[in-house]
Symmetry: C2
Subunit: 752 residues, 2 copies
């Protein structure tokens, strides 16, 4: 390709370390010089012109016409169609199969057996207003995948959202879950946490329902009048213990190829310990209404027209669940467009295609944007603008049951991916609203530029301006504070919840996840009502944000593929890490003060004085006092990294020859690998990344510097200093990497 | 009386100005010396022994057997019984009559006329579990007293709690109330504010209902299973514009004696501008369900199983209200026990007896505690311990429709009360829980001692310790901060809502209001369900807190009656005033910053970027920027007062002769008068007090230093500096009073 032959590395490298540069239209793109920027921008204009909301809409209608979960014939047909499209557009396409365990429901029975009788319908209504909801072939009945089988009977205990703090409060009421069946609300934590913690606390089963205050008429008009959850709607979803490892439960850390070594099902640690079933709020009402015991705390009250009680009982339920524990074949569609200049540097761009149901929003809205993008990229290539690096488009299967398609592929190709993967860009369900970008902070500056280069379909402002406005006006105090005194958006650190996890957290590949949200809210998620009709009426009519997503993700993909010098930048990275370290130090300080005060108040008998003696709520237990920790190793490694980055600040650079440039790019894109350690996180070695991980007790929610943070949060105080030393190691490794980069690009101390 | 003949004023006066003295059992009582303290404490022991929960329970059962609103024959009989009791106990008793306007319902009709038809029942169910609820003779049907008559039809608009901020938000949705009927939730502001503001915004009628999230099943089990509001329960209540003036609407500022000059009804400014009707949540459901328009903001969502909409319409209601605009006679029972030593110094102790219905909690639970107390005081007197000062017990009539009995009596006797009234102590409905004391801060130290001398019936701790524990653990951040680093409880400043208002805010008589609450919550307030059965089952079984209330109020009454030197103290007063001034300065600063930021955000177009263009919510309007104010006059007068108080700090005192002591006491008890100005508050001259007033737009909620605070809050910025000067005047007057006191008790500068 002509457009980056004449680049001047002196200028290019300058971008790598500059923070707080105001990005204006006229400025060169990160990783490009003036001239190649212009070429790239012209290319992007052509790219935009190829995009078609009409095509996206047609694909969405076609693929969401039928429920298509992993393992179903409908899903296999969607894969085939996607493969055919990629092939037709000129991609080198293949279907990569894995052989995974996927339980599907055989028996689902839930009865209230006392004090009155009620049999839960466990089914969702077809609605005349939405013909898709009558199409039920291949529809999986509402269930939680990777619940174990079970036949249990017990009194109900209401556990609110089933988070650690909810269990702590239940203990203060003197309520034990031992031998009981927990009923939890969906929301506030990832669903898999609810049975996991309930089981840890002795429950023999868990029921999860969507409370109408959060996800039903309390949130807005329900389907089909409005987008919110129909009374019969049930959120399906996986309860596999993904914070331990995602992917096939039988083949942790290795691809689920036919001959792979497999665990016995009974040994698979990521299957739940107790049976779990999701239900609708229509089915939850009689159960909750039959409960007695103490009235729930104010902040636990939901939106059903009853007084909520904690139990236990007198409501008693019988829950029977049996699953088909079948091995099935899954089909990842992988489409490759070989890079002209650096074929062994891969930009990977993925979205899953399997749904729980019709899956219009989740995942097809993202999938059709990816297809639109891929078609346009392919057209540019056929018109002579082949990318410099190889682009790999992936349509993942079996994301819903546990990120299985992407994880097996990442595990299966770990070695080559670690060598060659420049970055992984993910999308999943889309909607209308504001651009969200989560990802590796070495790409923060890069994505700020991308988001400033695409306009919002509704307001005409840049996506960046609109996202900043939303945070400024409606963000949490923390979020607002975090963008004060800077012109950039911060990338959210990535936890889990979609297919970037194996790339980022298992392999250390810089990743990002892109979506729009905030204005197409509703309650269709993982229900029968996630249909084409619902999506195009309420979430993104005419796929305007589908096109916007293709523009953003396509620009990111093309720039990563074409940048003469890869657009990784370290000042933003270290700026965010400094924030996280600061948070953790404050966390310890706050916990120390609060624990000490709380213990003092308990010891002084204030709770005995202030709590209603006629009620069952007791004082909290005395907690272990929080010691001071030695944060110095982490703080010193941060300082060293900050200095290394400052020392590599833009300086006159020597010209780079082709090998040096190649080495520079290799150092840039492998920098994320330095944030991983082979030993992984303590207790969950699959997770190698020591800056970003999903929380062990939040599930999807991110924990930054997870080893240290979770040791403090779980009050495992003896482990904290050791975790600090471990976390410091990855910053030290990054410092060395930055030093190597500076040795190529030059540094202030150098005389060239 | 023997017990204060030998007092030593040198020691006594020392108590007047000491702050932060730890009150321990052995310490003398405020206003007493060692010896007289011992005598007084012995007297209080005897006082306690006379108290009887059994009698309180019997009176409660008797008086609450029938609904007894002002003007009813049942109420007249309660008055007669109370009078008979006082007489029998040896009080000099009289019934003081006034002739007041009291509207009662004649026609109440509410129909939903579109898009479907529903006729509101407007009636409360009798419950087999509570026989009292079948006793309906003399029961006033649910209504809001001092609503004007009206026959209106219009579309509904949902106005949340009907507060100023709710109306501001409605404007952002482009919704006008002009020609509409507002439907508001009870709560968060005093009910009279809702129609007042709705009318100011153009509404032609207001419906008020109790939302089950606040006051129904969302709060807890409903009656008769639990104490919370039954689906048919309706909160009655006055909507008279009491923040303008309370009492008879036709005779502002003067007693409603038969010959008094009266306004025409059509000229009475405190009758509402539009018709108002309270309804149950059972009646509200079909109305709200029929509404359309934008979905309400999240924080406006209530507990009914529907999606709440703002309207206007399509729900359209017809509201017809007619009242009997009758003049009725009301009957205050006034029982006097003449003081032995200072008969012209009056300690006044009141509680109303009229109810909206059976009135077990409101007001009889307080009334029976007052009776128990009065009987015990009378017994002490008959046994030779007559109080030094005169004690006046009052059982007020017609408090419910607008503090009418107390206000008319206070207005009628204004001159003599200003001369003689030492203090007014009020109680009203009682419950189980924590002691609340609101009142004049010159009595803060006094009440801290009283509350440390009475034990909580449930925990055995002192009431003070229990109240402090509750604030420490569960108080608002502000409340917690306010008791940090001090061992005392702060008295809450008094707004309005019971009979202390005319004494404190019209006449400048130091006042206090005492009650227990926090553990006997429920939804019986002003409904058919405020019965003996409800009260003794859920609020205060066996009247244990009735006895505690009698102990507290009785001690306060007896100490005020017997203290050789009246227990007013100024350090606490000035400490609280300093807090209020600080709050107001911060309020202006915060408003200035927020206004400036909000205006900037509007001008920068952030709302246009961040708000959903498909929704009707718009950016707020640009607000007038907040100028800087000259707080110096207020701050300087505070400084002068602080210096005067410090200068009067405990010093050796010369012996006081009887005249000097009398003059000292007069200066002490008339000190509160200095906080009033004859001109009253701007725009509502009936309210003379410039430190405490009910908020013009909060109704019951207090506004301290109201002239200044409300000028800022209502953005009447031009008025602020003038109000600061006015407020400074009352502090200057107080400084002079303190100087006069010091000239008697001595001061550091004096050589005796």
């Amino acid at each position: 390709m002509v457009f980056f032959m004449s680049l001047n590395p002196r200028i290019l490298a300058g971008f790598l370390f500059v923070s707080l540069v105001t990005v204006i239209e006229a400025e060169p793109l990160v990783g490009f010089d003036d001239e190649t920027s212009k070429t790239q921008r012209r290319l992007e204009e052509q790219f935009d012109q190829n995009l078609s909301p009409v095509s996206q809409d047609e694909w969405l209608a076609e693929f969401s016409a039928r429920p298509h979960h992993a393992g179903s014939s409908a899903n296999r047909q969607v894969a085939a169609r996607i493969e055919a499209l990629f092939s037709a557009w000129g991609f080198d396409t293949s279907i990569v199969e894995y052989d995974i365990l996927l339980p599907t429901p055989k028996t689902r029975a839930l009865e209230l057996v006392a004090p009155v009788h009620y049999t839960a319908s466990l089914s969702e209504d077809s609605l005349p207003e939405d013909p898709s909801t009558a199409v039920r072939k291949d529809l999986l009945a509402p269930y939680n995948a990777f619940s174990k089988d079970g036949d249990v009977e017990g009194e109900l205990v209401f556990i609110n959202y089933g988070r650690p703090e909810d269990h702590r409060l239940l203990k203060r009421y003197g309520i034990s879950l031992k031998g009981k069946i927990a009923i939890a609300k969906y929301g506030k934590s990832w669903r898999g946490i609810k049975p996991k913690l309930a089981a840890e606390n002795g429950a023999i089963g868990t029921i999860i329902y969507s409370d109408p205050a959060d996800d039903g008429y309390g949130a807005g008009d329900v389907y089909p009048v409005g987008p919110f959850k129909h009374a019969s709607g049930v959120q399906r979803g996986s309860v596999m213990d993904m914070p331990t490892y995602p992917g096939d439960v039988l083949t942790p850390g290795r691809g689920a190829t036919p001959g792979a070594r497999r665990l016995k099902i009974s040994d698979a640690p990521t299957i739940t310990q107790i049976p779990v079933l999701p239900i609708s709020y229509r089915d939850a009402l009689p159960l909750l209404q039959a409960m007695g015991g103490a009235t729930v705390p104010d902040e636990w009250v939901g939106g059903l027209p009853i007084t909520y009680h904690l139990g236990p009982g007198p409501a008693r339920v019988h829950l029977k669940l049996e699953f088909n524990w079948d091995r099935i074949t899954i089909y990842n569609v992988v489409a490759r467009l070989e890079g002209e200049k650096y074929p062994d540097e891969w930009v990977i761009r993925g979205n899953h295609y399997d749904g729980w149901n019709h899956g219009a929003a989740d995942p097809l809205s993202g999938m059709v944007a990816l297809l639109d993008e891929a078609r346009s990229v392919a057209r540019l290539a056929s018109n002579g603008s082949r990318p410099a690096r190889t682009i790999v488009y992936a349509a993942w299967d079996a994301e819903e049951p546990g990120l299985i398609g992407s994880t097996e592929w990442a595990e299966d190709n770990a070695k080559i991916l670690k060598e060659r993967a420049v970055a992984y860009l993910n999308t999943d369900g889309n909607s209308r609203g504001f651009l969200n970008i989560g990802g590796s902070h070495t790409l923060e500056k890069f994505f700020n530029q991308v988001s400033a280069d695409v306009d919002d379909p509704q307001t005409g402002a840049t996506l960046k301006a609109r996202a900043r406005a939303a945070i400024t006006l409606f963000g949490s105090p923390e979020a607002r504070k975090n963008i004060e005194n800077r012109t950039d958006l911060r990338l959210s650190p990535l936890g889990s919840g979609s297919d970037y996890t194996p790339f980022l957290q298992h392999l250390g590949i810089a990743s990002a996840n892109l979506s729009f949200s905030g204005e197409g809210t509703g309650g269709s998620y993982h229900t029968l009502y996630d249909t084409y009709e619902h999506y195009t009426r309420f979430r993104d009519p005419k796929l305007a944000y589908g096109v916007a997503l293709a523009r953003v993700a396509g620009r990111a993909t093309l720039r990563l593929a074409n940048a003469p010098i890869l657009p990784f930048e370290f000042a933003s990275f270290v700026d965010n890490v400094a924030l996280y370290i600061d948070e953790i130090v404050k966390l310890a300080d706050t916990m120390r003060t609060q624990t000490s005060l709380a213990n003092q108040q308990i010891n002084e008998g204030l709770y005995k004085l202030a709590l209603d003696p006629t009620k069952t709520l007791n004082a909290p237990d005395i907690e272990k006092e929080v010691p001071h920790f030695n944060f110095a190793p982490l703080q010193n490694s941060l300082l060293a990294l900050q200095k290394a980055i400052a020392a590599a600040a833009p300086q006159p650079l020597k010209e780079l020859n082709s090998d040096a440039r190649r080495e520079l790019n290799r150092l840039l894109y492998t920098s994320e690998r330095r944030l991983t350690l082979e030993a992984g996180l303590t207790g969950r070695s699959w997770y190698k990344h020591h800056i970003y991980a999903p929380g062990f007790y939040t599930g999807y929610g991110v924990k930054t510097i997870p080893g240290v943070r979770e040791a403090i949060e779980t009050r495992d105080f003896d482990a904290v200093d050791k975790q600090i030393v471990i976390a410091a190691k990855v910053l030290e490794a990054m410092t060395i990497q930055v030093g190597k980069i500076a040795s190529i690009t030059g540094s202030p101390g150098r005389v060239d």
